[in-house]
């Protein structure tokens, strides 16, 4: 299980990329099945079959990751796997299953189910590859695989004109960001002569930072900023969260962000260690940590302030997600290995909560058209259990103990503050993050107020099916249990990233 492979043959490559292979094959199988059975099978049944197939594929991939995944890399540094990659991929697979589960709750699936599932799986393949990428080209290709699939999925309900419009907006902004990224990568290649991150690191050792390299780094950071929806590159997020089909929105909000953060940490610490500069209180030395600090500040402030004014819950979640990206950036900025580990833990646990909230919104507004505040009103009357789940999930996002959101945030801040040479360097950013959390409590409590303190405009009880109930229940349970007993998993994360 823990053999180290320096892949040279096709067999070795296959061993290293087995989970990705399984997912690609599953994607092709879903396409084939839908091609064979469309029209011959009732639409709902077909859709459920495809979903189960996808879940099966993800489960198999997860099984391989858990039990039979060697560590190692493909020659030339195109692709690698280690303990940390495995854990993060498992997290992504779990969040992917949750998103598909969300889709299974759909009673009236839209047409072209085969393509929908195949694209969803391909997006996940892209995320998997992204996590294992150690090479600028690979990073770019994987990012684009994910992004292109998500553009199509966002506009999947093409009968709604708003969907097409939003998908186009997402595509155009995403395209521009890809251009930034590619331009940055090409400058880096031009300066160093290498594409593999480890080679770049070696080439740059003991070299001063040149203006050209700085420009390349800044361009790449802008590109990544779009992908993780950090302010000021977040403007696509609210529209996409609002309009995309619920499972897609939840995938964008959870798994794709996890992958984005992981690769950002890998890119910066794997290729550009030594150029990070530092922040200490009000003082700073130029480096990419300062740039990340700027992104983090803007994300926390803009995200939370904009969320205060939203009337649509999905847009609110999008802005709050921007703020959460800001918090997680603090983890990437930390010079200890535990920093990125805590950021990954944070994003995965946040992903669980937000998938649960999307599940709830899906129940309350099955067509996804109306997700204004009113849908929450009187939820307590209509379904006390749903209201209780909403409370747990939302309070976890707000960072209230003993839920996992608090613990993940606490862990993040501790590692942001703790660094051997420069303890408490980021304390002002941490203080800002805590202040921003206080602002966020205002709108999170507002959601709970609608659910618990207002009377329902509609008193009809809620018709949720088994898939929806199990998804909401499971995410809530994970949020509570991981909050109470985080020890083992957290230790695993810390250990995996340290090696």
């Amino acid at each position: 299980m823990n053999q180290l492979i320096q892949a040279a043959t096709h067999g070795d490559i296959l061993k290293l990329t087995a989970p990705e292979f399984i997912l690609v094959i599953t994607a092709l199988v879903t396409l084939a099945v839908s091609f064979a059975f469309t029209g011959r099978m009732e639409a709902l049944r077909l859709s459920r079959t495809l979903s189960w197939l996808s879940v099966l594929g993800l489960g198999l991939a997860g099984g391989v990751l858990l039990f039979n995944q060697p560590s190692g890399d493909v020659q030339g540094g195109l692709f690698y796997t280690n303990e940390a990659c495995r854990l993060v991929k498992l997290g992504i697979a779990a969040l992917g299953v949750a998103s598909i589960w969300l889709h299974m709750g759909n009673q009236r699936p839209f047409p072209h189910q085969g393509e929908f599932h195949a694209l969803l799986l391909l997006a996940l393949v892209g995320m998997f590859l992204l996590v294992g990428a150690d090479h600028l080209l690979m990073i770019f290709v994987a990012l684009e695989l994910t992004a292109l699939s998500l553009y199509v999925l966002t506009g999947f309900e093409k009968s709604r004109s708003i969907a097409t419009q939003t998908a186009l907006k997402y595509f155009l902004i995403g395209g521009v960001s890809a251009a930034f990224l590619l331009y940055g990568f090409s400058l880096i290649y031009g300066v160093t002569g290498y594409l593999s991150l480890s080679d770049i690191q070696v080439a740059l050792t003991d070299k001063p930072i040149t203006p050209l390299l700085a420009m390349g780094l800044v361009m790449s950071l802008i590109g990544f900023g779009f992908k993780i929806a950090a302010a000021p590159f977040h403007m696509w997020a609210p529209d996409v969260y609002q309009v995309a089909p619920t499972p897609v929105a939840s995938l964008i909000a959870s798994a794709s962000k996890v992958a984005g953060f992981f690769v950002l940490g890998r890119f910066l610490w794997g290729g550009f260690e030594g150029f990070e500069g530092s922040i200490h209180g009000w003082h700073w030395d130029t480096g990419w940590v300062v740039a990340l600090g700027l992104l983090a500040c803007l994300s926390m402030i803009i995200g939370n302030l904009a969320a205060l004014k939203q009337s649509n819950l999905r847009r609110l979640l999008a802005y709050s997600a921007v703020a959460h990206s800001g918090y997680a950036l603090l983890g990437i900025m930390s010079p200890s290995e535990s920093g990125p580990a805590s950021a990954a833990f944070y994003m995965i646990t946040y992903g669980v909560s937000i998938v649960g909230v999307f599940g709830l919104l899906h129940v309350l507004s099955p067509d996804g058209q109306n997700t204004n505040w009113q849908v929450l009103e009187g939820l307590r009357h209509r379904s006390p259990w749903m209201a209780a789940c909403l409370m747990v999930l939302v309070l976890s996002m707000a960072g209230i103990p003993p839920l996992v959101g608090f613990l993940a945030k606490f862990n993040l801040f501790i590692w942001a503050l703790k660094s051997s040479g420069n303890p408490l360097g980021l304390i002002l950013l941490v203080a800002l993050a805590l202040g921003a959390s206080a602002v966020s409590l205002y709108y999170y409590l507002g959601m709970l107020k609608s659910a618990f303190c207002k009377d329902a405009p509609q008193t009809a009880s809620i018709g949720a099916n088994g898939y929806q109930i199990s998804l909401i229940g499971a995410t809530t349970l994970v949020t509570v249990l991981l909050g109470l007993f985080p020890g083992t998993l957290l230790a695993k994360f810390m250990l995996a990233f340290a090696s």
Binding site: A388, L395, I400, P401, P402, F406, L407, F410, N411, F413, I414, L417, K418, P423, L424, I427, V430, A431, L434, G435, S437, A438, L441, Y442, L445, L448, K449, F452, C453, P486, G487, L490, A491, M494
Partner: protein, 498 residues
Amino acid sequence: MLAWTVYISFLSALGCFLLPKERPDISRQLALAGTIVAALVGLICAFSYAPVDDNPIVDTVKLSWIPSLGIQYYLAADGISMVMVVLTGIASVAAVLFSWNIEERANEFFGFFLALIGGVYGVFISFDLFLLFVFYEIAIIPKYFLIAIWGSTRKSYGAMKIVLYSFIGSALALIGIMAAFVVSGAHSFELQQLIQHPYTSEFQQWAFPVTFIGFVILAGMWPFHTWAPTGHVAAPTGASMLLAGVVMKLGAYGALRVPMTLFPMGAAMWREELALLAAISIVAGALVALVQSDFKFIIGYSSVSHMGFVLLGLLATTETGLSGAVLQMFSHGILAGLLFAVVGRMVYARTHTRELSQLDGMELGKKLPFAATVFLIAALASVGLPGFSGFVAELHVITGAWSSFSYTAIMAGVGIVIGVAYSMRALLTVFWPSHQGMPPLNNQLLPAITAQEKIGSYLLIGTSLIIGLYPRLILDLVAPSLHSPLLKPLISSVAGAQ
């Protein structure tokens, strides 16, 4: 065994949530049973509290919780914790008795109520700072719902204000706790471990005020006190009793336990400025109470004034001052509960108004003689009538403050005089108005005082009387803690500075 105070509270909370909402009577009985059992557990532990040798801290549970950060599930108690646990027990039983009239969504009310109490117990018996903080935050959220759902007068606004103030305060406190952990380099959040580290005076100079202010926001220190009157007024009676009675104590207790214990040098640097703020709290709270037209706002501001005594006692940082602070926490916890009970349950629930101008014509002194008597006793006790707990507490605080900063003691004395004035004003306007002979505006018969109200009143008055007559019950518990390694550096650093 002490840990069961927390478990019983949370389990009863869970039980209440699961009960049917159509049967408020079962929820009440469960809540009463839960609080009584928890209070008894607390009392038994307090009476059997026996520190070993020099170490006043008696461990209850100590388990590794989150090893990667060195966080332990560590419940323990010293004498100060014991006093606070007993206070929480008595105040919570009384608050349930005075919430007997809650009919609407009673199961949820008592659920949130008990969750709040569980968090409060947890804070008082945690010696791992992470755990302490967890309980501290658990106590924030139920307050929001208790006020926003069952409250009165601008309840949404009051609920949000109280929660945001609490949360911002706890965020400041958290910065201090995290910084202390990171700087110490220790792999533990245990208080006894952290105090081993010699924090530099530059560090203490900023860490102390940040952490201290973070905690005392919840204790209602001027100028961060505005949440307290608004929140107390908006809250339903039982919740105001808890808020004023025990939740404000969380702030004062946290300030003593965390910043003052960890950063004694910082305390020595800042205590004069902060003691002045505490003295201003006493006077300003009392002055504002003097001009309120809403009966409950008078009590709300009087809480700010009385909590000022607690803070002044803490900041005097002498043994007398600290004992006085603990005594005053206990005393105010009991008496504020009683005052809110009279205003909210006995008067407001019957007359549906709290405006002094309207209560003025109702001749409540004749209609509700019991309420009038209880209010008289509570008001006199809290301004320091000898024989009740308020007297010994304020005497200790003023003596302690005198030896540190004599002008703050004078300000506190002025505060007591104003306290007499606003209490008498409220008492005379509400219960015994002077303009006899005018026809009462509103002559309907008010419902009689219920048995629960009477029992609750006797319980609180009795407690205050016992402590007033025999304060050594508390002082003997507190004394070993003052000589413990936790607080010794604080007291000696101040003594050395003088």
